[in-house]
């Protein structure tokens, strides 16, 4: 009898959803629209029903699943990793960009433009095996702290988004990251932080080489960009790697516009959402004028395209996973 009661309670809980799947979302229209969409595609009786194998959801990472201010966290890693390298060998800081990186001078680094950034990425990300690179990322994540919040970077995930990812998976979705960030960098924390395994992390990647060194096969990261997973590249990479059009896409900048456009232009029920950084108090408020995560087209065209614009200040009860 006791077993039966437990089983009954479990069924009841599952069927009527007693536990709130989105506790960090306020009871606003944003939350209602998400839940209504998920209900519509998971109800086998509805003509909007989507089979589980087609419930593909894709999310940008920087600014959508975790913070991206004052600069992309991967750039902070690159600079801090390079600073460690320079401690061991000061002669490495041999260009203007690398000198700026060694000094932790992000403003000077930004002035150097894209070429300077690529120099810092090359110095900190390449000429080593994928394993060695990922060990250096893991070691950094364990120690590094964000300059404003004092949190570890992997604690600066957005708690409402972590809940959304879990909610979607509980409802039969397969969740992917499709980000401008580097694949090898993101895979170090994506599974623990988001529940997203390596094979569902899509991003920017460098060239790599395969060779047998002293009898051991090694994949080495090479200092040349192979594919930038941003803007149109996101839609192209989704087609190449997933091979199906998602039914749900979330982003926060115009770099995500094509991904949301591609997703929501498909037939049947589709959901596009943009995380709008409106909360100057708990985070940083920015959109069209920002040097990072610039959002103009999405704000202007998103609503008429039916996309949900999430107002972080209004819609989220909590921001970071690591802080209330």
């Amino acid at each position: 009898m006791r077993l039966f009661s437990l089983a009954f309670a479990a069924c009841l809980s599952a069927s009527v959803g007693l536990a709130d799947p989105l506790p960090s979302w306020n009871e606003t229209q944003a939350r209602d629209r998400i839940v209504a969409f998920v209900d519509s595609v998971t109800d086998p009786e509805a003509d909007t029903y989507v089979t589980p194998s087609d419930r593909i959801a894709v999310f940008d990472n920087d600014g959508t699943l975790w913070g991206e201010q004052p600069v992309y966290f991967q750039l902070i890693f690159a600079v801090e990793a390079f600073q460690e390298m320079v401690k061991a060998d000061p002669s490495l800081a041999n260009t203007d960009a690398l000198k700026a990186a060694a000094a932790g001078d992000y403003a000077a680094l930004a002035e150097g433009g894209k070429e300077g950034l690529v120099e810092v990425l090359a110095a900190s990300h390449t000429g080593m095996s994928v394993e060695a690179f990922q060990e250096s990322v893991a070691a950094w994540l364990a120690e590094a702290r964000h300059p404003d919040t004092g949190l570890g970077y992997d604690r600066m995930t957005y708690q409402p988004m972590v809940e959304l990812l879990r909610y979607l998976r509980d409802e039969g979705f397969k969740t992917y990251i499709v980000s401008g960030g580097g694949i090898h960098f993101m895979r170090v924390f994506a599974e623990e932080a988001y529940g997203i395994p390596p094979e569902q992390v899509i991003g920017t990647y460098l060239e790599s080489s395969y060779a047998v060194v002293d009898g051991v096969p090694v994949i080495t990261k090479e200092p040349a960009l192979a594919f930038v997973d941003d803007k149109e590249g996101k839609a192209i990479n989704i087609d190449r790697i997933i091979g199906k059009r998602p039914i749900f896409a979330g982003g926060n900048s115009d770099g995500d516009f094509a991904m949301l456009q591609w997703t929501t232009a498909g037939e049947g029920p589709r959901f596009g959402m943009i995380v709008h950084h409106t909360d100057a108090e708990r985070e940083v408020a920015y959109d069209c004028d920002s040097h990072i995560g610039r959002l103009c087209d999405g704000l202007e065209q998103g609503p008429e395209l039916g996309w949900l614009i999430v107002d972080m200040a209004e819609d989220w009860a909590r921001i970071f996973t690591g802080a209330r």
Copy 2:
């Protein structure tokens, strides 16, 4: 009581494996080694146990999961699709290679070398949307028949390999194709033929472009190779797309050598297998001297690397899914 009996029978059947998972494999050492490996990584009590999320299995397609003689089936598609195009517009056959294709002259086409082949692929595979391309592949598959067997090409899958894929999945593996074939081509039949969904099909891909045409976003296949998923490229693509080292890899040619090497060089239990085409009676016998599916290094070094060399004539009770 009846419910209990049914449940008991189901448990019994699952635990002692009453149904033979590999009925088209003869009772030889090859089959025993596969089963012993799977048992070793799925037994939670064994120190060789591998958690399900790390049970990644990768397979070449041409010559490993389906036939590849007398030429790659995708090339036959390209030629036959081009012949259809030429019927509508004879002026398309305007180079030596395209004339050879229009005439169905594979020997002349082979003489033209790689450049000629790329011309035929470009003519039949590009300048159209991914959807339009995949519709043309599906239409071809429905009608086309292999010159020797008379079978539809998607009935020329190797039944023992189809069973192996299913067996591995039943034992908690995630099965991938990692092939020199084109991603958009293979995805048309991989799910039905092998139970492998689009997101687990990795292959060669052309450049593609994303544009909004008359208000509709379109991904168009462009006439330039972006990545050739062969040799070292297979290991690189596995790292890029799966992000984990597989524990099981199957191939049939030296184009698969790096993939098997990368897979089996990992720590812990690993399995590499090579399908050796030894059956002149039921299929075609070929290896080191073949122009297609050339296998020298794998035959020579495979055994000392611990790889299983499957002898199709000895180890397989049946070859094609579509013929006994």
